[in-house]
Symmetry: C2
Subunit: 154 residues, 2 copies
DNA sequence: ATTCGTGCAAAAGCTTTGCATGTAG
DNA sequence: CTACATGCAAAGCTTTTGCACGAAT
C-alpha cells in the first residue's frame, strides 16, 4: 500500500472515520491526478473503477476529507470548486484566462507573509490563497492576432 | 454625480451598454459597501431603494459589470461569491472566518510578485488576488472558550 | 422602428438530506 | 449488536433562461 494511503488512513482513524473502499478510491483518484479535479471529474474517474459509486458519496467524502484536512478546495470565480490533496504544504495558482492552463506556484513565493499578517493584525490560523490570472504567452499571441483582424474588418 | 459613476458610465458606453437606473443602483450599493457583498446582500440593499428590482437583474448586471471589469468576484471555498468594485487598483483581503470582518490589504504586500511571475512564466496582463482567511483576535478567544466548555460537558 | 434592458416565472444545475440496506468492529 | 457508510430518490438552493413588456436611441 502506498504511504500516502497509510497516512490518510491514520488521519481518518484519528478522527474516528474508516477508510472504506470508496474513500480509498476517491483519495487515490485525487492524488493520482496531481492537479485540480472537480466533483464531476472525480465521479467519472471513480466510476471507471466501480460504476456503482454514487454522487452523494463523492460529496460526503469530499466534505469529510476537507474536514480532516486531507484535501483542499479552491474555488475560482466562474469555475466549479476543485479539489486536490494537501500533503503538507499549501500551494497557489497561476491561471491562463483563455486556455485555463494552470501552473502551481510554490508556497515560498509569499515568503513570510503569513507571519507578517499574524503580527500586524493579530489574526490566528491564517491560511493564504493566491490566485494569479493572466494570459499565457501562446494565448496572448492569439489574442493579439484576433484583435488585429477585427480592426481590419471594420 | 459622483466621479465613480461618471467613469463607470463611460466604460459601459465604450462597450455599448447603458447605465440604467438598476445598474446605477447596483454599482452604488457595491461601492458604498466598501468591502465584499454577496448577491443576497446586493439584492437586499437595492430593494431598500426600489423593491421591484428582481434577482435576475442582479445576476445579469453582475455578469455584465464583471465582463467590463468594473467589479471583481472572489469566491472563498464554502462561501457565496462576493463582489466589489475595482477602481483601478487590485486589493487583497484578510477575512475572519467567524465574524466575517474584512481587512483590506495593501497591494505593496506582494511586492514585485507580479513582475516576477510575468518573467518566470511569460504570462501577460496578470492580476493578483490574495485571500487570507483566519480568526481575528476576538473571535479566536471566543472559540477557545467554547472549546473549553465543550470539553467540560463531556 | 429597432435595439436594449427588465421582471416574472419556469427551468436547469449543483448540493444536501432522509431513509432503508449493507458492512465493519 | 451497534454504530458507521452507502446508494437511491427526493428535496433545497442558487443561478440561468425564455418571453413579453417597456424604455432608450
Amino acid at each position: 500500500m502506498q504511504p500516502f494511503i497509510q497516512a490518510s488512513n491514520a488521519i481518518l482513524r484519528q478522527h474516528g472515520y474508516r477508510l472504506t473502499p470508496q474513500r480509498h478510491m476517491i483519495l487515490c483518484v485525487i492524488q493520482e491526478a496531481g492537479g485540480h479535479l472537480s466533483i464531476d471529474q472525480i465521479l467519472e474517474r471513480v466510476q471507471q473503477q466501480n460504476p456503482y459509486v454514487s454522487l452523494s458519496t463523492i460529496y460526503r467524502t469530499i466534505d469529510l476529507l476537507k474536514s480532516v484536512d486531507l484535501i483542499h478546495e479552491s474555488h475560482l470565480p466562474g469555475e466549479q470548486p476543485m479539489y486536490e490533496t494537501i500533503e503538507g504544504h499549501a500551494h497557489h495558482h497561476l491561471i491562463c484566462r483563455r486556455c485555463r492552463a494552470t501552473i502551481h506556484l510554490d508556497q515560498e513565493l509569499l515568503g513570510n507573509l503569513n507571519e507578517q499578517l499574524q503580527k500586524q493584525y493579530q489574526f490566528h490560523g491564517i491560511s493564504l490563497g493566491l490566485v494569479a490570472a493572466g494570459y499565457c504567452n501562446n494565448c496572448w499571441t492569439i489574442l493579439q492576432q484576433e484583435q488585429n483582424s477585427n480592426l481590419e474588418q471594420e
